[in-house]
């Protein structure tokens, strides 16, 4: 294209559009580290049968309380079970409980938050007071009370009452954050336009408001998984969460582990490291996701 008289020859430098994952990795190195750990954990959980060198339930009375060695990288417990294999299999419990409870708790919270913001007025007032009531319970007290009163309800190998107990405390917290985001969206002109066009509340909520509060929802979701893993470990430690023989990190720390403090410190050190690392990874990733998607969001 030659120079046309009377026009300016301007070359634009088009900003390179990087793949979003790559862009995230470059701008949030800590979050990416967290994400890597999460991916590794998911891999370990999915392929646990191949990754773990032993059957997590295999009892070997000839080799109880063996210190870490090439044969048993993290030692064995008081039943001769391989600690490393139990930690690998324990990630299945931690992740499934963590993800499911966060998904259920945060989604319910988001729905309540959006609905409360959209309808406003009296509905909003009543819903918010109800959320305040739930917020008045410390998380673990609420979860313990739910587990305590509802007992177990195992379907597909997952204790759904435990999922509810861990997900319930998230509901008001997510509802509060999503509500305030949705309140801002509600005042946007395009919502008025949709309303004037005669769309139903359901359509306005799901097509116009929900897509605009996805960012806080996703941020809360990631942050919740770490907390859920921590809560599952605490409940299992107290004997009110996952029960034997299912391998769970919290369960590995409870009961007999305390009696073998001195003989077998590896029994308490490594499961705790696994819990901390998992929660740490989700917190790092959640923090970076917030900085990336919505830096002003206050959780």
């Amino acid at each position: 294209m030659g120079a046309v008289p009377g026009t300016l020859d301007v070359t634009y430098k088009v900003p390179r559009r990087r793949h979003p994952v790559l862009a995230f990795a470059l701008q949030q190195p800590l979050g990416t580290a967290g994400l890597l750990v999460i991916v590794l954990m998911i891999g370990a959980a999915v392929f646990a049968n191949w990754v773990a060198p032993y059957d997590p339930l295999a009892v070997d009375y000839g080799g109880i309380l063996a210190p870490p060695s090439w044969k048993h990288p993290l030692g064995t417990d008081n039943f001769g079970r391989d600690v490393f294999s139990r930690i690998i299999h324990g990630s299945q419990t931690a992740l499934s409980v963590g993800f499911l409870s966060s998904l259920i708790g945060c989604t319910l919270g988001a729905v309540i938050g959006v609905a409360s913001a959209y309808f406003g007025g009296r509905t909003d007032m009543i819903v918010q007071r109800f959320m305040d009531v739930i917020l008045a319970f410390p998380i673990i007290v609420l979860a313990l009370a739910v587990v305590g009163v509802m007992g177990k309800n195992v379907v597909f190998g997952i204790d759904w009452n435990l999922i509810i107990a861990i997900g319930l405390p998230m509901v008001p917290r997510v509802a509060r954050v999503v509500r305030s985001s949705a309140l801002a969206v509600r005042e946007m002109p395009y919502i008025d336009a949709a309303r004037t066009a005669g769309f139903s509340p359901a359509r306005i909520i799901f097509r116009h408001i929900v897509p605009n509060v996805v960012a806080p929802y996703l941020i809360m979701l990631t942050a919740s998984v770490g907390q859920a893993i921590l809560l599952e470990a605490s409940l299992s430690f107290l004997g009110l969460g996952v029960t034997e023989p299912t391998p769970s990190w919290g369960l590995m720390l409870s009961g007999s582990a305390i009696d073998f403090y001195q003989q077998a410190p590896w029994m308490i050190v490594f499961p705790g490291v696994a819990i901390s690392l998992a929660v740490f990874a989700f917190n790092l990733f959640g923090d970076s996701l917030r900085d990336w998607l919505d830096p002003k969001l206050k959780l």
């Binding site: 305040d132 410390p138 705790g272 740490f280 917190n283």
Partner: protein, 317 residues
């Protein structure tokens, strides 16, 4: 101001009523049968007639609204009922353990304040230097490490290097303060780490925000010593959210204690709560949950009042 206080106090009543109702419904409608747990839990063979008799004795045969009314009525007069497990008054059981849990909570709070304010301030003042990085890693880790596991590690270290064992008997503060503090400092540290991590993060982020304000630039431009700028202008304005976090975490500390008390073999509220749940001791669970929730609501109220005291710009009318 007085009007505001009165208003807030009145508003607490419906919230507390809601909490009481929720707890009651949860325990009585969905919960297990305490009599079954007590009499048949150990595999004992007890006839149905005995069970029915026991249910009548505990008032569990009455309609739910009557039970709820009785419970509420009792609480108004300060009667929290009788433990379904031990038969002793609930208030007596709780009172004997509250002192211990409260002391650990207060000690953890003091630790958190002593750790978080200087660390958070340093981290903000030396942003993006190695000091900041170290503080941030320590505080993010504090959110990830389970307090009960930290407690176990503390015991492990003390045991291996100092041959210290968690004592079986609890020494009250007024009997032997030294002994008492030596005993409770470790659980306080275990729950206090997470606590101070939360507060440190808040201190850092609010101080960073405040340091961007115009009045800080003005103060510096006037030639005020940097030390004075930080202490008088920045810190005093950054304290509000930190106070909130410290207060809220204090109210929620009882949650951390539930698990940590097991590790240190402390006979406090947390241990009582776990026991009451596994025994289906409904009256005890109800009273404890309500106590904790009421505590949270009151602390929230106190935080709001402290706002006005810390920041004269806030006026409640």
């Amino acid at each position: 101001m007085l009007r505001y206080i009165a208003q807030r106090l009145l508003l607490m009543i419906p919230t507390l009523f809601g909490v009481a109702l929720l707890v009651f419904v949860m325990l009585r409608v969905m919960g297990g049968d305490p009599v079954e747990t007590m009499m048949r839990g150990g595999g004992g063979n007890v006839s149905q007639a005995v069970i029915e008799q026991e249910r009548v004795r505990l008032g569990l045969d009455r309609p739910l609204y009557v039970q709820f009314g009785k419970w509420l009525g009792g609480m108004v007069t300060g009667d929290f009922g009788v433990s379904m497990w031990t038969g002793k008054p609930v208030s007596q059981e709780i009172a004997s353990r509250l002192q211990l849990s409260l002391q650990v909570a207060v000690m953890a709070t003091v630790l958190a304040i002593l750790i978080s304010i200087p660390l958070g301030t340093l981290s903000a003042l030396y942003k993006d230097t190695w000091i900041d990085h170290v503080v941030r890693v320590i505080s993010i880790a504090g959110l990830a490490v389970p307090s009960f596991w930290l407690g176990m590690i503390i015991i492990l270290v003390l045991l291996s290097y100092f041959h210290w064992h968690p004592p079986i008997m609890f020494t009250p503060f007024f009997e032997n303060p030294r002994e008492n503090l030596a005993q409770l400092i470790w659980p306080a540290l275990a729950v206090g780490y997470r606590y101070s991590a939360v507060a440190t993060r808040m201190m850092r982020s609010t101080l960073l925000e405040v340091l961007q304000e115009d009045y800080i630039r003005t103060a510096r431009a006037k030639g005020v010593y940097e030390r004075l700028v930080v202490i008088r202008h920045a810190l005093s304005n950054a304290m509000l959210p930190v106070v909130t976090v410290i207060g809220l975490e204090f109210a929620f500390l009882i949650g951390g204690l539930v698990v940590t008390e097991q590790v240190f073999n402390l006979n406090g509220i947390g241990k009582l709560f776990v026991q009451a749940i596994s025994r289906s001791d409904l009256t005890m669970v109800q009273a404890l949950v309500l106590l904790v929730a009421a505590f949270f609501i009151v602390v929230n109220f106190v935080i709001d009042l402290m706002y006005a005291w810390l920041d004269p710009r806030i006026r409640y009318g």
